[in-house]
């Protein structure tokens, strides 16, 4: 009976339905899914194909009007021969790992736990405050940070710490990574915060109450009930935010432009942008920039696959076991 309800296979002794019958049975589903599938194809899959094709050409602003010239994998060879390729790759992993663990997932989880364990209104208020960086226009937000960390005699930090005898410094240039991570983390934390808070509040209260009756401490409740219950949003936020951070560069561009000095805070996406679209004298190398972009797509796919395996995505999406009993 359960199998019939689930439609999970032919009944023993019966001939399997023909391919046409199978297709006919799922035609409705295909019809429903096709608009979304077309959108995914056009806006997600096709750009990757175009990116790859462009990465095989020498397309640049000096030959833009000419027919495309294919140069095989030369752009990729150039990329891997770049003296600063290892540094940029290292910077990217450092930036993603640190921002993700300290803020986008770590801080978001801590804040979600805190704001769901205090008065509901106060929790909501704090969550709203954490949304402010996200809704502030990027340029305004970065201008604010630049003013905070500006060189002496300017800079809010210098003004505040000066009376305590702290030597004025160009804080942004002294601690560039700290500011890059803070700037991105304060924006990124709100995403996880909202999702985790909703997930925590959706956990049936009976479970918590039962645990408390059994004498569980707050830490035990968090460890043994809350965290396992929010595994799905944890997977989603970690994967989504990893991909987001891998491709985000606008705050770094506005804050440090990848500096100070040589590639100090330069990440992969910023290099792709600079190569393809932003040089001082405007010589844009779209083909070469596309090669940097395409490698980033590969890194993203690899990272997503790893996450899906680590979080056992298959188990998370399988049918509830209660239905097959």
């Amino acid at each position: 009976m359960a199998e019939a309800i689930m439609g999970s296979g032919p009944v023993k002794g019966q001939a399997p339905p023909s391919r046409w019958a199978q297709l006919k049975a799922t035609l409705g589903a295909w019809g429903f899914i096709s608009p979304a599938a077309v959108l995914v194809l056009v806006f997600f899959f096709l750009p990757v194909v175009i990116l790859f094709v462009i990465s095989l050409t020498d397309l640049s602003s000096s030959n833009f009007s000419e027919p495309l010239t294919f140069i095989n994998l030369e752009n990729f060879t150039r990329l891997f021969k770049d003296k600063f390729f290892p540094k940029i790759l290292g910077n990217t992993f450092f930036y993603v790992a640190t921002t993700l663990s300290c803020f986008n997932v770590g801080m978001a989880l801590v804040l979600a736990l805190l704001t769901t364990h205090i008065d509901r209104r106060a929790g909501l208020f704090f969550r709203l405050i954490w949304l402010l960086p996200r809704i502030t226009p990027s340029v305004i937000y970065i201008l604010m940070w630049r003013r905070i960390s500006h060189q002496p005699p300017f800079g809010l930090i210098n003004q505040l710490l000066g009376p305590f005898g702290v030597e004025p410094q160009y804080w942004l240039f002294e601690q560039p990574w700290l500011f890059v991570i803070l700037v991105n983390g304060f924006v990124g934390a709100s995403f996880g915060l909202i999702l985790f808070s909703s997930a925590i509040e959706a956990i049936p209260k009976d479970l918590i109450t039962a645990a408390k009756v059994d004498g569980a401490s707050t830490w035990q409740i968090i460890r043994d009930i809350t965290l396992p219950q929010i595994r799905w949003p944890l997977l989603f936020v970690t994967t989504y935010q990893t991909l987001s951070l891998l491709t985000s560069f606008e705050y770094i561009l506005l804050l440090t432009e990848g500096g100070p000095g040589l590639y100090t805070t330069e990440v992969w996406a910023l290099t792709a942008y600079k190569r393809a679209l932003k040089t001082y004298f405007g010589h844009n190398q779209w083909g070469y920039g596309a090669a940097w972009g395409f490698v980033l797509v590969i890194i993203g796919i690899v990272m997503s696959t790893i996450y899906l395996r680590v979080f056992r995505f298959g188990e998370l999406v399988q049918e509830p076991k209660i239905d097959v009993l």
């Binding site: 030959n63 000095g261 405007g282």
Partner: protein, 486 residues
Amino acid sequence: MKKHRLWTIVAALTVFGMMLVGCQPQTVTVEVPVKETVEVVVEKTVEVIKEVEVEVPVGGELVHIVARCKAAPPHEEGRCNNLVSAVGAANAALAEMGDDRRIELEIIQDNADWGDYKTEFELASDAGAAPDIVCSGHEHIGDWGPAGYLVDVTGMLGDYPEFDDVIDALWASTEWNGSRWGVPQDAEARPLYYNKTLLAELGWSDADIESLPDRIMSGEFTWEDMFDTAEEAVNAGVVAEGNGWWHRPKNGGDFLYYYYAAGGEITSDGDALIFDKAAALKVYEKLYAAVDRGILSDTRLDGDWTSWHTGITDGDVLFMFGGSWNWAEWFSNYVVDRGGEDYLWEHFGFAAIPGMANGTGNPTTLTHPLIYMISSASEHPDLALLLISKASVKELNTDYAIASGHLGILKSQAEYGPYTSSKFLSQVLPLLDVTTFLPNSPYWSAWSNGYYEGILAAESGFSAEDALEVAVDYLQNELGDNVIIR
């Protein structure tokens, strides 16, 4: 209660009235006393768009021309405004020739970054939506000429007598592949500025300070002397550490004259550009030493122009390499409340860039003329060029030159009263005797980036040799056979 209601009605009416006023179109109409009626509409945004309306003879054709200029407001707006001012003369010339066409001009003007500005024109060209006239740096001819985005005007220039007045040496900046691809719009020099007040504090006599430009021109005061003086000022506490000498805060054409001063060459007989390792090494050694000696801050290349201008005009810096247009920028935007240009004359001086004793030893500077170019997509290149010719007259160009701190482009300006009476322009003009140019090459941008990577490295603590290696690696990787490294 009644009183309360009355106030409510008054407040509501006031708010309603303000909304009505606020909803009015923000249009300023200016009537210009020429034959045609000219209406100038100014949008109050960063991008200024002006449209010119003209009267067309019966049976005639109104031709819409679009001009795009990059200009820092307010002092550089003459770049496109001069074209607006030339519409009347251009239409009068058409009437005189019996041509029934009339020009209607739309200008688009803002202060975008060079790279964005260039990309915009390229994308517009490929989309068939390029402006008829684009005013841009001469080095872009190196990209746009080969790409087919520009009209070769070599054979057309002779039709317009106004162009006979253009200074001969400036035409070189419009050339690529043996042809001319535009008309010079302005010229400038990039001088060494020095703070006279700080030099006096350091113990320099008035005679020492006043004679500095001559001593630089004669080769007596060199780049090395400048660094020694800057170090002395830092050690004496006249300026803070890192404020002995400032260059620009981001990449730009300036850095090329360092290379020239060190004896470097960039153009070859073929298309490839030259990178002279010995010259570049001297530059990197100089910059490394400047940071090491406390003359220059290792954060100088922070890309922040506002702090740069503020630091200089506030009198915090002894020597700085800037552009002649900075003078206009400073008195227009930074020292207005302190006396404007008079304040600058009292506290600042300027001269050629001192010679490098271990380089050529000769003083130098760099000129970066902007060029009016005509898009190959333009349906009326003759009218576009006619308009440019009427904007290239001494009256209009002098107004622009004085307002913007740029040099004139015409021979007749040398004897034109309003131009010669400008103290700043007349004193900057001799710098052109030692000027240099950027190359008009499609590889210039990549070359510049590679060379700049070395500069960034040298100022970030890499040794000069390591900085050179960074630059060479970049150039080999990016340019391949299109750079000759020697």
